[in-house]
């Protein structure tokens, strides 16, 4: 007899529908699975057999053939177990098969018949809804994540028996009560998280951090070792604005698929990824193996922090160019290809030179001119072209260390959230939500220069200090400065602030010329 069940497999960031067809015929007892199954799916045979037997059903001692259609999509992961088991039961007439047509099944089976959660629940729920299925049966642990999809019946089954009960027309287990939220999942600042109030002095760097958080601008922190570059970056997650619902859905989907989402509902906090500088290009953008999600995709809608930027391999940095420009990354390999979203703010920290002391007041720089040139070449060009803000940190003097802190994280976050709100209101319907993503056309429309701002801009243009791209970057940052202040128009002082934090050609560049 033949039975068919619906389930899903994850391909890149998509959940692809899979029909599990099971045919049971007379013959020597055997259980074969065909249809591009990976190791985890082939091992399902043993899990399914034990689960069926331990749940009080009979595992048919006949020839069982399971086909996973479509045949050209590779099936990965243990999420197909539940559908496979139910199809076997239906084919052996231990279960009425009607509901299998409208109910999707997704979950891994334990040998005792327990249904366990799998990665990518949200994507599967969304796909089930798109496929027009009425309900999704899955493990209790991830049910709240699937329940985020509206118009889809999410049915909880703690065990194979529970699933069989539902398919036979019964009710599912109750949705588990929401667990008390754990720190880190919610948007609130953790009590043990470092606070901006720990930072003394470094006023320009703080301003730059705020601008970056408020406008999504790429930021470079440059300074001698020990001046607080990493310290500042660690405090960035605490001042980032919360995710909007649409953004949170995208982020949850990605993090759920990679198994990094441990909460129950949506991810509320913006991602902050800080890979080590030994990372490979494939680790950074993805494609290390089929389905491997790169760091920049995990940083989608959040921040990618690259500490010791000049230590990253040239290839890895080059790989960042296109995603930084386009907001997505296309991974094409011989056996798989996919487009991933990757709209993130890049925050990088670097020493000003290989020894770290160039421009230091007290410690001499020991680098040779050629070392400096190499260091600059490594950073310059492709990457720095896409950095909107640069903050130079200096060793704080006695005076700065004695000053009261400039911002607390709470205050900074208020400013950032308010600035984001203003941007969102102004950019409603424009397809972008932060100033960093404004293109030349939108920039012209939303800049609203005041007369004194106009005058300063003319001077900038007359002096030919900046390229066209550099000018746009300047204007975007100026717009964010105005948004932080709550000014409807972009004024002279906002442009001046952007100018003071721009990537400039320094004496050092002229030295090499």
């Amino acid at each position: 007899m033949l039975a068919r069940a619906h389930t899903f497999t994850i391909e890149a960031l998509q959940a692809r529908p899979v029909a599990v067809e099971v045919d049971i015929r007379r013959g020597l007892p055997a259980f074969t699975i065909v249809g591009l199954a990976d190791a985890a799916v082939r091992e399902a045979r043993d899990r399914v057999r034990s689960a069926i037997q331990n749940s009080g059903f009979e595992f048919p001692m006949r020839r069982i053939t399971a086909n996973l259609a479509p045949g050209d999509v590779p099936k990965v992961g243990p999420g197909l177990d539940l559908a496979l088991a139910c199809a076997v039961l239906a084919a052996s007439e231990q279960l009425p098969g009607e509901r299998l047509a409208s109910h999707a099944l997704f979950g891994e089976l334990g040998l005792d018949g327990e249904v366990r959660p799998c990665h990518g629940t949200l994507a599967v729920a969304q796909a089930a809804h798109e496929e027009g299925l009425r309900a999704l049966i899955l493990a209790p642990a991830r049910a709240r994540e699937a329940a985020l999809v509206e118009d889809l019946d999410v049915i909880v089954a703690g065990s194979l028996c529970g699933a069989v009960r539902v398919l036979a027309g019964g009710a599912g287990d109750p949705l588990p009560a929401p667990a008390p939220s754990r720190p880190g999942d919610t948007d609130e600042k953790r009590p043990d998280e470092p606070d901006l109030a720990d930072v003394r002095g470094q006023r320009p760097a703080l301003d730059a951090l705020l601008l970056s958080a408020a406008g999504g601008h790429n930021l470079l922190l440059s300074g001698p070792p020990g001046t607080g570059k990493t310290m500042l970056a660690q405090r960035l997650p605490g001042i980032l604005p919360p995710l909007t619902r649409a953004e949170a859905t995208e982020v949850t989907r990605i993090h759920s698929i990679t198994g990094r989402h441990h909460g129950e509902g949506l991810v509320e906090r913006r991602p902050f990824r800080a890979p080590h500088h030994t990372i490979t290009p494939a680790g950074l953008v993805g494609g290390a193996r089929p389905g491997w999600i790169g760091e920049i995709v995990l940083a989608h809608r959040g921040v990618l922090f690259l500490d010791e930027l000049s230590e990253f391999s040239r290839a890895a940095l080059e790989a960042l160019r296109q995603p930084l420009e386009d907001g997505h990354v296309a991974i094409v390999r011989a056996r798989h290809s996919a487009v991933y979203p990757a709209r993130f703010a890049l925050v990088a920290a670097t020493n000003p030179c290989p020894c770290g002391h160039l421009g230091d007041d007290h410690i001499p720089c020991r680098c040779r001119e050629t070392d400096l040139a190499r260091h600059r070449r490594r950073l310059s060009g492709p990457l720095l072209d896409r950095v909107d803000l640069v903050a130079h940190l200096q060793r704080p003097g006695r005076r700065e260390l004695g000053e009261p802190p400039t911002y607390t994280s709470a205050r900074a976050r208020e400013l950032v959230v308010a600035a984001r709100q203003r941007q969102a209101t102004r950019l409603e319907g424009a397809g972008v939500c932060v100033n960093a993503d404004l293109d030349a056309r939108l920039l012209r429309r939303h800049l609203a220069l005041s007369p004194d701002g106009e005058r300063l801009l003319h001077t900038v243009q007359d002096r030919r200090l900046l390229s066209a791209r550099g000018l746009h970057r300047l204007l975007r940052v100026a717009r964010t400065a105005a948004d932080i202040e709550g000014s409807a128009r972009t004024r002279e002082r906002h442009l001046a602030r952007a100018l003071s934090l721009r990537i400039e050609s320094t004496q050092a560049d002229r030295r090499a010329a």
Binding site: E369, H392, L456, R493, T506, Q507, A513
Partner: protein, 386 residues
Amino acid sequence: MSAGGIAHVEDQPALDPGPSGEDEPLACEACLRRAALLELLSPRLEYVGRDPDNLAALLDLADDELLEGVAGKAAARLRKRLDATDHSQPPPPGVQRICRHDQRYPAALLEGPGAPRMLHVAGGGVQRLGELLREPAVAVVGSRAPSDYGLEVAHALGRDLAATGVTVISGLADGIAAAAHEGALDAGGPTLTVMAGGVDVGRPASRRALHRRLLQTGCAIAELPCGNGPGGWYGAARGRIVAALARLVIVVEASDEPGELIHARIARGRGRLLGAVPGRVLSPLAAGPLSLLRDGAVLVRGAQDALDALYGVGERRAEATEGVEQRGRLQPRLRAVLDRVAAGEDTLGKLLAGGSGREALLVALAELELGGHLVRGDGGRYLPHG
């Protein structure tokens, strides 16, 4: 020997053809042979030639003694190669050779220990060299790893001296020398470059553009034949030429390591005037100039100090360059910010630390930067410019 000869053909800048119709300067067989010998011995001089006194003593030796002394066992083989060299090959177009037996050979180069026997001259030829050296010339030298302050000062010195018509002499390798040359070129004034290799080889590669520019409007001289890259030993050798040709040698920035102060040491040995630009007491790059000042060097704050030292106080005025005049016309609020920067509040952090008037300060900084009165240096520091 001329290892770079073929590989660097493309690098060779288009050299001006020398002034035609002039008498071809004299380059006698013996002196040509001497230049070829130095070229042959260049790799061996790397080690023994780093000490200036040692080097001068070596270079005073006759050809054969020098060959025996430096080459040791290989002397016979090298002599054979030297004898096989055809010295009658003309130099590349635009390069003239002059030996000490020509009347037009700079007299200053005939004195002192280790005097060079012949020169290769490019960029205007021997006649231009004579013109450049008619009046007292000033050498600007300094550290190989200068700070942006040093570069800014060297640039201003080169510019203002050249604008006044004083020939600026320097090498090409270290940052200070390059900045001084650039300043002189910006002012369109006279410059003389003493090359560490052949006159036609612009190395290090980062200075190739500057080298090309120097050959177009300035003049370059070298002791080694064309096609040679700069030798490490040549720092000391060049020092003796610079010290011989300049009346005043100004050290802009140097740590107190012997290698950094080599020009000053040679110049002092020859009884030249020595000038030094002071820096911050804490800066290691100020250690060299400050120790020279303690030992009696002339304090140099700008071109006027150098002119006072050369011609007597107040005898000759430095040409006020455009930048200086403009600075006098600045609005008081901009002037005040510029003064704060010049007084050492040179980072955004220090400037903004006070707290009040931050917006006005940022606007003033932007205006000053856009007006060309401030530039950015290492670590995002603001530097007064012009």
